[in-house]
Amino acid sequence: MTALRELSEVPGVAGDEGKVREIIRQQMQEHADEIRVDALGNLLVIRRGSPDLPRLMVAAHMDEVGLMVSHIDKSGCLRFKKVGGIDDRVLPSTAVRVGCKQVPGAIGSKPVHQQKPGEQNKVIESDKMYIDIGASGKEEAERSVSPGDYVHFATEFEEMGDGRLKGKAFDDRAGCAQLIELLRSDVEVPLYAAFTVQEEVGLRGAQVAAWEIEPDLALVLEGTTCADVPEVEDHGQSTALGEGPALGLMDRTSFAHPGMLRGLIRAAEENSIPYQFRRSTAGGNDAGPISLSRGGVPAATVSTPCRYIHSPVSVMKKSDFENGLRLLSAFLQDIERGFRP
């Protein structure tokens, strides 16, 4: 899990994926026929494989949700905007790092004893919060940060409990780590890996990557929402930790291609790999723009369930990650043996 530790802790808020890209690029150097970075910053890692087999695009997004400094107050506190979907309720009192110098900071808001009656029961809006970097005034703050600086959550990766992992940005560094492993494995299928940018702000990188790659088939590897926790009724849970990789059925941007979905289910069942369906139709992922690229591409999504995604900390289970990888390998072998959706 050292690869996932490094990928989880490196900052890469949407639009600022360079550090993530560098780590992946270095790891992929000896495993690729070709590596290139496109105009938007997508990292394309290509293993040409056998020309008789369909060209498979596998996408995982490098970006994570985070914040951006929008203004520095006279007091030296930083106002910010959210980059990607973040619930305001998870932000107060969170430890963050700001800008390329990784300046430590804490998200502050009006303390509870100074809130007016009524305010205490309301969610504090992110516009009313600020980042405290310990500066005593605007000029001092400006020496280390500027408006436009990205802000990421300062969360340490740790293993805990029974094979569970805690860290930030598992959405979608879990997918990135799986894709790295897949590229290292021994496969004949022409593998066009796209480590994409700006998924969290509108599935942007995948759109141009798919256009460039022109795949015959596509898979998207995601870290997805999971709510097998207290206070959530069964039918409100999207996925459950430990029940295996989650196959997407439908979300706001695509349906799983029926043939691809059948192939994944068959691969799981024939190899006794546990799997579950993603039981929510909210959200969207890179499969949307990929499936609608050019004349259309059969696409499906394989996700690792992650609790508390889009927050400073998420929790996933190693076995789901590993079973997802087994499923991908089995599915690729089926393609080598002639499976077509």
Partner: protein
Amino acid sequence: MKDMIRAFVEEFGVAGHEGRVRTIIADEIREHVDDMHTDALGNLIATRGPEDADATLMFSAHMDEIGLIVTHIDDDGFLRFSNIGGIQPHRLLDERVVFANGRVGTVGVERVEKMKDLKMEKLFIDIGCASKEEAAEYVEVGDAASFHRPLVDMGDRLLSKAMDDRIGCAVLAQVLKEMDSPHNRIVGVFSVQEEVGLRGARTAAYQVAPDLGIALDVTGTGDTPKARRLDVSLGDGAAIKIMDMSLITHPGVKRLLLELAEEHGISYQREVLEFGGTDAGAIHLSRSGVPSGCISIPTRYLHGPSEMVDCSDVRACVDLAVALCGADLSRIDR
């Protein structure tokens, strides 16, 4: 046409699950077209007309209908679901729904105090099973369901689920049968996944690369008691779309359609729709842009279990589309 319309609307074909509708449409048009194939996303693409045509005219009618998708089966055998396409929860209350395998259920609701608390997550489907195990024999998570309503022939008017947009599919099938087009290559696209974001038409338009794109789809009416203002009425003819939320009709296309309706004595009305969109929205933004428009079939009670059309409007839409097939498309200018 009524038999064809009945067959089309009664078939199961929720967005993402258009296979069966595609099969019956393919059977219906097979002997009338020169070529026909299904693409990567499931669009049925049929072609008629000369190889060395002056221009390619693409029609698009979507095969998919709105519906529900099962997200969870509880221990007592009740199914929780999410919507596929735009459905308001109140239109589902006590409604019967049917799965692809024919299993029928009714939509029940948790106790709610006020109508405004009626949310999709308060609803469930009861398929008459007493346990999770029993329900799982008929339905799995991810299965789709549609409204369970047969077509009612009211004489001049027809009532059914899925008029949106099987009536457009029927119009397109009829056009492919009746058309005479010495100059233009006609490509009829029966598209998928319109209801969830104009998806099929987008990739089909890329493949076809047409010179002119026309959606054949339903539109609302403003002719019922205290309806939202919309100058479209059932029985007043084909609706020539001027604009909706997805498209401002290309001025040359608009002019051509209006002129053709006048020249051929086809009854028509102008449609300015303040909500919704059609496949033309996706087609006109394909590649470097495609002049596009839409011939709409006026339909009451859209996105509900009982959508109503008038046969004379359907006929007018066929006539206008057939006239367009035979037209000189170089008449389209700015």
